[in-house]
């Protein structure tokens, strides 16, 4: 994209001209990614959308004002604008003495955020994840579930399963890699038609 010289030049020219098609395509491409990055940093969805919007507006305005000097890639430049916006947001949030969202919180609004996380995923995805998990070796499966669903750190899992801490960390790393690999393999298999709960017909 934002890295290939020819493509970058085409994009910059289109934005500088204010070409609506180029602006729409740029927005469609970058906005979802920036929102995902914001969510990764612990922002609420609304906040992540706001920061993404600010970033896009700032990036487009600065390109049109000729402030992008073409020294690095547009991706790196956009990413740095986004990082600064997120840091500013988090600093403001800290100053306002608002805490970040934690799943363990008993605040009903926050609890519902955790449930919302699950509701955001489809039944098909949930079924898919269960199928991938079943393909994992049992030890890796147990360690992965204890770590991600139960939120237990490696040293606690090591104590429960009477393993060494390093060995548990190695199993966890291996489990995550295998999960991704198996997810690709399961994805490539032809999928049967499914009921509304994700189970096959």
């Amino acid at each position: 994209m934002l890295g290939d010289d020819t493509a970058q030049l085409a994009l910059l020219t289109g934005i500088q001209r204010g070409d609506p098609q180029v602006l729409t395509a740029f927005d469609a491409r970058v906005r979802p990614r920036l929102i995902a990055f914001g969510l990764k940093r612990g922002l609420q969805r609304q906040d992540a959308e706001d920061v993404a919007q600010d970033t896009l507006v700032a990036a487009i305005r600065q390109i049109q004002e000729g402030k992008f000097e073409n020294r690095g890639t547009l991706a790196a430049w956009t990413g740095s604008i986004f990082s600064r916006r997120v840091n500013d947001f988090l600093r403001k949030q800290y100053r306002d003495q608002r805490t970040l969202v934690h799943f363990e919180s008993t605040d009903p609004e926050i609890k519902s955020a955790a449930l919302q996380l699950l509701a955001d995923t489809t039944a098909e995805t949930q079924f898919f994840v269960r199928e991938v998990l079943k393909a994992l070796p049992s030890r890796e499966r147990i360690v992965l579930i204890l770590n991600l669903l139960d939120g237990r750190p490696a040293h606690e899992i090591a104590q429960m399963l009477r393993l060494g801490i390093k060995a548990t960390e190695a199993i966890l790393t291996s489990a995550k890699k295998q999960f991704r690999q198996l997810a690709n393999e399961v994805q490539e298999k032809p999928r049967p038609k499914r009921l509304s709960n994700g189970e096959p017909l």
């Binding site: 890295g3 290939d4 994840v129 998990l133 030890r139 429960m160």
Partner: protein
Amino acid sequence: MNTFGFPQQCVAPRLAEFVTPYCFGDISQVEREAFEQHLLECDYCWTEVQRLADCVKVLRSDPSVTSTVSAGELIGALGLSGRLDERFAGHFKHVLLVSTAFALFFAVAVFVELAYQFDRFGQLATLLASLTWLWIFVTSLIACRVDTKGAQSGGALTVARPLAVLFSSTVLLCGVMMVILPSTPTVVAAFQTFPVTLGFLKAVFFAWLFGLPFLFWPLHFVLSMQRELASGRHRGVLKLLTHSQEALPPRDTPYVRVWVLFVFLAALSLLNYASVSHLFDNLLPGAYKTLFMALVMLRITILFGSSALGLWWYARALTELKREAFAMQTFAEPESTPHRSVQ
């Protein structure tokens, strides 16, 4: 190709490796920023991240994922059978103890045989004992490793392979010792004593008499039971360990009960008491008589102490195996839960 003509395959495979750690949150800030910049450019990695991130969301929040773990698998993971694939099947410390003890049986024997004339053979004894200990320790570790690998591989689990390793190493050692050790007696007693070479062979015999039933055989049997449990044959294991008449041990792996070994150890201790008493009563004075007696007592302590430890470990491992087999049977077949308590 997409709207701006950007490539559809990842052009930075080194960065593509960050997909998994990024989605699972195992990435440093610097790496994350670099990877996110890459995601702004790379449709391929972005698609991968979206798919995997959805899965991670489910893993973090959907309680139904626990249904993918059966009770049997959980019990196995918490029990001995879940450790079959670890180093020495989870018995690394015990294997170290077994190898150290078995090596000491031989090393102390060298000192014992040469102690009576320590002024003449002291240096030789120290050198030979150190080398002997190292040789037997390493070959014992190898024998245990062979046994463990046999259990982990799923093929035929036979005690012949580790025994062959131990036997070969002992024969080689004895061959070398027959050449180096003096062929005259050093111990002076009221009766005819063995030459050093024969005395060493006698010590080797006792090392095997104690080592095989109390150190190596229990490890082999526990490994075979771990494998049986890991293969889902918990009913057979439970029948065997609860002495059911229908029990069938795995091929070439008879079940030697703890009390049998205990009685054997007790018998050995009585015999040993008699023979050592006879020896000590008939020793003639010498400059190193006290040293010799102390080393004999040390050897006895090592022989019986490590055998007792081996027996204790065996009893504990059998109890754990029984517990695991019973738990598996309870959750796998609730209708056939035996009506008896588990020790």
